[in-house]
C-alpha cells in the first residue's frame, strides 16, 4: 500500500476526491500544511470511500493507513468504528492494535473515544475485558495524570459498575502510594467512594443537576455508611502526614465530610498539629482552621485567613481578603 493507491488494482474503481483547499477561487488559502504526498493521496481515497459510505476490508485498511500518518484525524476514527461493526470484525484484535497506538500517541482524544465505542458493545463485551486494568496501568506508567485515560477509566467504572471492584481501589492506592500528589487518582477514589451510582445520572458529586436542590447540597449523600467515611478519613489523614502541604488529601477529606454531612470541626485536633504558632507545616491546615473558627470564633478565623494572606499563600491575597469580608458580613 505504501506504493500508492493510484497504481493499486484493488482501488482502480475509485475516483479519488482531491483536497479542496480553496485555492481554486483564486485566493491564497491560510494556515496550509505541506502534506506528504502519501497523506494527500490516502485522504483523497478516504473522502471518496466515505462519500460512498463504503463498508469494506479495503476501507478498513485505508483507515489504518491514515491513522498511522495522523492519529488526530477524528473523522477516520469514527469511520473506522462504523466499518468494524458493519463487518463484525474481531474487536479483541482491534484492542490489541489500539494498545500500541495508545502508547505511542499519549495525548490523543480519538483513541480513547474509539476504545469506548468498541467496549460499549454489550454483545462483544458483556463484562470488562480481563486485561483492561493492566493496560490502563501501563498507560499511567507513562503519564499518571493523563486526562483522557482517566476519563476513559471513569467511564469504564460506570459502564461495568466497578465501584466496588477491588482492582479499582488497588490501582488507585498504588498510584497514590507512588505519588501522593496524583490528584487524578484522588478524584477517581472520590468517585468510587462517594460518586453517584447505578441509575442516578453521572455527576462529579451526588445531588447535582437537579434545579430543586440547592448547589449547597451538592455532594451530600442521602444514605451514609459511616464506617466507610471513617475509613476514608483515616486514609486521608495517613496521606496528609506523609506530605502536609499537598492539597489533594485535604480536599478529599472535605469531600468525605461533606458527603456524610459532618462538619470540619471533628478534625480540629488533628489539623491543629500542623499549625503550632510559627511552626506551620501546612497552609491547608490553616485554611481548615479558618473554616472551623468561622462558625463561632470569627476573630480567630480572621487571624487564620490573615496568616494565609500575609505569609503562607500571599499570591491569593485578594481571595483571602474576600473571605475575610464575607466573615464581616455574616457577623
Amino acid at each position: 500500500m505504501a506504493e500508492g493507491y493510484a497504481n493499486d488494482p484493488e482501488w482502480a474503481d475509485i475516483t479519488p476526491i482531491e483536497l479542496n483547499d480553496g485555492s481554486d477561487s483564486g485566493a491564497m488559502p491560510l494556515a496550509t500544511i505541506a502534506y506528504p504526498s502519501e497523506y494527500l493521496e490516502a485522504t483523497s481515497y478516504l473522502r471518496a470511500v466515505m462519500a460512498a459510505n463504503e463498508m469494506s476490508e479495503r476501507a478498513l485498511n485505508l483507515t489504518k493507513d491514515v491513522i498511522s500518518m495522523n492519529p488526530a484525524h477524528y473523522t477516520v476514527w469514527i469511520y473506522r468504528a462504523r466499518i468494524l461493526f458493519a463487518l463484525d470484525k474481531d474487536l479483541i484484535e482491534e484492542l490489541n492494535w489500539l494498545n500500541g497506538v495508545s502508547l505511542k500517541y499519549l495525548k490523543n482524544y480519538q483513541i480513547w473515544h474509539h476504545r469506548q465505542v468498541l467496549i460499549s458493545s454489550q454483545t462483544h463485551f458483556p463484562s470488562v475485558p480481563a486485561k483492561e486494568p493492566d493496560f490502563l496501568m501501563e498507560m499511567f506508567a507513562q503519564d499518571s495524570k493523563n486526562y483522557h485515560v482517566w476519563t476513559y477509566r471513569h467511564w469504564l467504572v460506570r459502564h461495568f459498575k466497578l465501584w466496588d471492584s477491588p482492582r479499582e481501589l488497588e490501582d488507585v492506592e498504588a498510584l497514590i502510594k507512588a505519588d501522593v500528589r496524583n490528584n487524578s487518582a484522588w478524584n477517581h477514589r472520590y468517585m468510587l467512594r462517594f460518586g453517584p451510582r447505578d441509575d442516578v445520572p453521572d455527576a462529579g458529586m451526588v445531588n447535582a443537576g437537579n434545579v430543586d436542590i440547592s448547589p449547597e447540597e451538592k455532594g451530600r449523600l442521602p444514605v451514609v455508611d459511616e464506617d466507610l467515611v471513617d475509613a476514608e478519613l483515616k486514609f486521608a489523614q495517613e496521606q496528609i502526614v506523609r506530605a502536609p502541604e499537598n492539597r489533594s488529601p485535604w480536599w478529599y477529606a472535605r469531600g468525605a465530610l461533606r458527603a456524610a454531612g459532618r462538619g470540619l470541626g471533628e478534625w480540629e485536633g488533628f489539623v491543629g498539629k500542623f499549625v503550632d504558632g510559627d511552626m506551620v507545616k501546612s497552609s491547608h491546615a490553616v485554611e481548615w482552621l479558618a473554616d472551623v473558627y468561622a462558625e463561632a470564633e470569627k476573630v480567630k478565623a480572621v487571624e487564620m485567613l490573615t496568616m494565609l494572606k500575609e505569609k503562607y499563600d500571599p499570591i491569593r491575597k485578594n481571595y483571602w481578603d474576600y473571605r475575610i469580608r464575607q466573615l464581616g458580613e455574616v457577623a
Binding site: L19, N20, D21, G22, S23, S25, A27, P29, L30, A31, T32, I33, A34, Y35, P36, Y39, N70, A72, H73, Y74, T75, I78, A81, R82, Y105, K107, Y109, H113, Q116, S144, W150, T151, A178, D179, V180, R181, N187, F194, G195, P201, D202, A203, G204, M205, A208, G209, P215, G219, A243, E245, N246, R247, W251, G255, S282, S283, P314, I315, Y319, R325
Partner: protein, 513 residues
C-alpha cells in the same frame, strides 16, 4: 506595523515541530516527536532530559539577585516545603527553577527590556510576525496532525493579531475561501475538507468569520443546516457531542451555545433531533445548564464530563456557557456551588510563578491565562449581581486573583525571544499559546462588566450581548502603557463589536423553522 509583507509567496517555515499546542479544547494534536524524531528540550519528565534541582529556602538554583522592582513573592520559593519528594515535586521544582531566571529579569533575552517594575516589555512586533507567519506560510509536513484543526489555526492567528491591534479584515477573502470547503452540506464545519463536522472546528470557523466580518462572511454559514446538525448532536442528558458519533463533553456545550447565540439560531429542536426529543427536551438549550452542574467536581472545579477531575479549560467552557444561557448572577449560583468553585479557581494561581495551572498539583501553563483567567470576569460578575441601571460599572468585589502575578508570568516567562508566546520557559511558542496568552493578558488589562443595555432586542441571550469593558487604572499596573491590548468579549473571545455585528446581521435573516 510589523516588518513583514505577507502573503506574496509561500515559504517553508522554521516552526519547531516538537511542541504543538496541547489538546485542551482544540480538535486534538498528538505528540510530534514521531515526526521529527527529536525530543523536545523541554521534556520535564524526571530521569529523562532534565534533572531537577531541589529547591530549599537556602539552596536556590538561581542564586543571583533579582532586578529591582520585583517583590519577593515572585523571586522566592513558597514558604512551606514538604520533605517527601515525588514526581509531582520534581516537575514543579524544575518549572520553578526555569521560571525564576525569567521572573527575576535575569535571562539574557530580557536585557534592556525591563521596566521599573522589573517586567519586560511586550514584544509586540515579534508576536505579530509569528502570527502572520502561522497564518500565511506553509507549515512543514511534521504538522500533519494539525490537518484536523485548520479552522483553529485560522482563528488563533486572527484573534491574536486582533488583540495586538492588527486589522484582521484584510484577510476576509482568504478566510472565506479557506473555510468554505470545510463546511458540510449536512451542517457545520469539519477540521478540513472532507472531514465530518466538529463542534470545535465549527466554533473556530464561526469566530474566524466574525473576526473578519462582513455580509459575505456571515452569509457563508449555512445556518439552517447548522441548526439541524446541532439538533442531532444534542444528547439525552442535555449536553452535546462534538461530532455525530463522537465524544460528549463541556467543550461541546460551550461551542454549541456560542454558535447558537452568535448565529441567532432557532432554539426549537429540529425534527431530526432524535435523542433530545426522546429525552423530552423541547429546545436546544434545555437541560444544558443541568448537565454543566453535574460536571462540578468535589474539589469545586469543573471537569470535561461528569465525574472526571476538575480542569481549567473545561471550567471556562462551563462558566462561559452558563453566562451565555442567562445572566451569570442567576445561572452560575443556580448551578454551581460558588464557595467551592471560588476556592478551587483561586488555588490555580501559584507563586512564585504567578501563572495558572489547570488542575490541582499540575504545572502552570500560559494557555490557562485565558482558560482560568477567563473564568474570573464571569465569576466576579456573578458575585457583583445585577448590572447598574445607570449603565455604569458596578461597585465590585474587584479582582479575586493577582493580576500582577499573571502579568509577570505572561510578560516574564511566556514570551519567546524569537516571537510568539508559549506554555512556559523551555517550550516552543505556537499560535494556540500565542492567542490564549494574549487573551489572558488583555483580560488583566480590562474590567469586564455587564450593563442593562443589550445589543440584541431579543430576550434570549440579552445578557450575553450586554458586556462592556473599561481599561484598568494605570497606577497599579506592572506593564507599560505601550503593552495594552484590545479588549475581547469575555464569552465569545473576539471583539465586542465583531460579536455584535454577526448577531445583528443574523437577526435580520431569520431562519424559518
Amino acid at each position: 506595523m510589523p516588518p513583514i509583507i505577507a502573503g506574496r509567496h509561500k515559504r517553508k517555515v522554521r516552526f519547531p515541530a516538537a511542541n504543538l499546542p496541547p489538546a485542551i479544547i482544540s480538535t486534538p494534536t498528538t505528540a510530534q516527536q514521531k515526526h521529527t524524531g527529536k525530543k523536545s528540550p523541554s521534556d520535564l519528565k524526571p530521569g529523562k532530559s532534565s534533572k531537577s534541582k531541589p529547591i530549599t529556602a537556602s539552596g536556590m538554583a538561581s542564586q543571583e539577585e533579582p532586578r529591582p522592582g520585583i517583590p519577593a513573592l515572585f523571586t522566592q520559593p513558597p514558604p512551606i516545603r514538604d520533605p517527601l519528594v515525588t514526581e509531582t515535586v520534581q516537575l514543579q521544582d524544575a518549572t520553578v527553577n526555569k521560571c525564576l531566571t525569567f521572573l527575576k529579569g535575569l535571562h539574557v533575552s530580557q536585557q534592556g527590556t525591563l521596566n521599573a517594575s522589573g517586567v519586560p516589555a511586550l514584544q509586540r512586533d515579534g508576536h505579530a510576525v509569528f502570527l502572520f507567519e502561522s497564518l500565511e506560510e506553509e507549515y512543514p509536513a511534521g504538522f500533519v496532525a494539525m490537518d484536523a484543526s485548520r479552522p483553529w489555526m485560522v482563528y488563533w492567528a486572527l484573534a491574536g493579531l486582533t488583540l495586538l491591534g492588527e486589522d484582521p479584515t484584510r484577510f476576509r477573502e482568504r478566510v472565506l475561501e479557506t473555510l468554505r470547503p470545510m463546511q458540510n452540506p449536512t451542517g457545520g464545519f469539519g477540521g478540513g475538507h472532507g472531514q465530518i463536522s466538529h463542534l470545535a472546528g465549527s466554533y473556530a470557523a464561526v469566530l474566524a468569520l466574525a473576526l473578519v466580518g462582513g455580509e459575505d462572511a456571515f452569509a457563508l454559514v449555512d445556518r439552517e443546516a447548522m441548526w439541524r446538525w446541532l439538533g442531532r448532536l444534542k444528547q439525552s442528558d442535555g449536553g452535546f457531542s462534538v461530532t455525530e458519533g463522537g465524544e460528549e463533553d463541556v467543550r461541546g456545550a460551550y461551542c454549541a451555545a456560542t454558535i447558537i447565540s452568535l448565529l441567532d439560531l432557532p432554539l426549537a429542536l429540529p425534527h431530526d433531533a432524535k435523542k433530545a426529543r426522546e429525552a423530552g427536551f423541547k429546545t436546544l438549550t434545555e437541560g444544558l445548564a443541568e448537565y454543566l452542574s453535574r460536571c462540578q467536581s468535589f474539589e469545586g472545579g469543573i471537569s470535561g464530563s461528569p465525574g472526571v477531575e476538575a480542569h481549567g479549560a473545561y471550567a471556562f467552557c462551563a462558566l462561559a456557557c452558563l453566562s451565555i444561557l442567562g445572566p451569570p448572577e442567576e445561572t452560575i449560583p443556580r448551578h454551581m456551588n460558588i464557595p467551592l468553585l471560588l476556592s478551587w479557581l483561586s488555588a490555580r494561581q501559584y507563586a512564585p510563578e504567578g501563572g495558572f495551572s489547570g488542575r490541582t498539583n499540575k504545572l502552570v501553563d500560559g494557555c490557562y491565562s485565558h482558560w482560568v483567567g477567563g473564568c474570573w470576569p464571569l465569576l466576579q460578575s456573578a458575585l457583583d449581581g445585577k448590572p447598574q441601571s445607570s449603565g455604569a460599572p458596578p461597585t465590585t468585589f474587584g479582582n479575586l486573583y493577582s493580576r500582577e502575578g499573571l502579568d509577570r508570568y505572561i510578560l516574564g516567562c511566556c514570551q519567546s525571544p524569537s516571537g510568539g508566546l508559549r506554555d512556559k520557559p523551555g517550550k516552543s511558542p505556537d499560535s494556540y499559546h500565542t492567542c490564549y496568552v494574549l487573551t489572558g493578558l488583555s483580560a488583566t488589562q480590562h474590567h469586564h462588566y455587564r450593563t442593562n443595555t443589550s445589543i440584541t432586542s431579543s430576550e434570549t441571550f440579552a445578557s450575553a450581548f450586554s458586556w462592556q469593558s473599561t481599561p484598568v487604572r494605570a497606577d497599579d499596573n506592572v506593564y507599560d502603557k505601550a503593552d495594552r491590548l484590545v479588549a475581547f468579549h469575555p464569552l465569545f473571545v473576539i471583539p465586542h463589536q465583531a460579536a455584535a455585528n454577526m448577531r445583528l446581521w443574523c437577526e435580520r435573516q431569520p431562519i424559518a423553522t
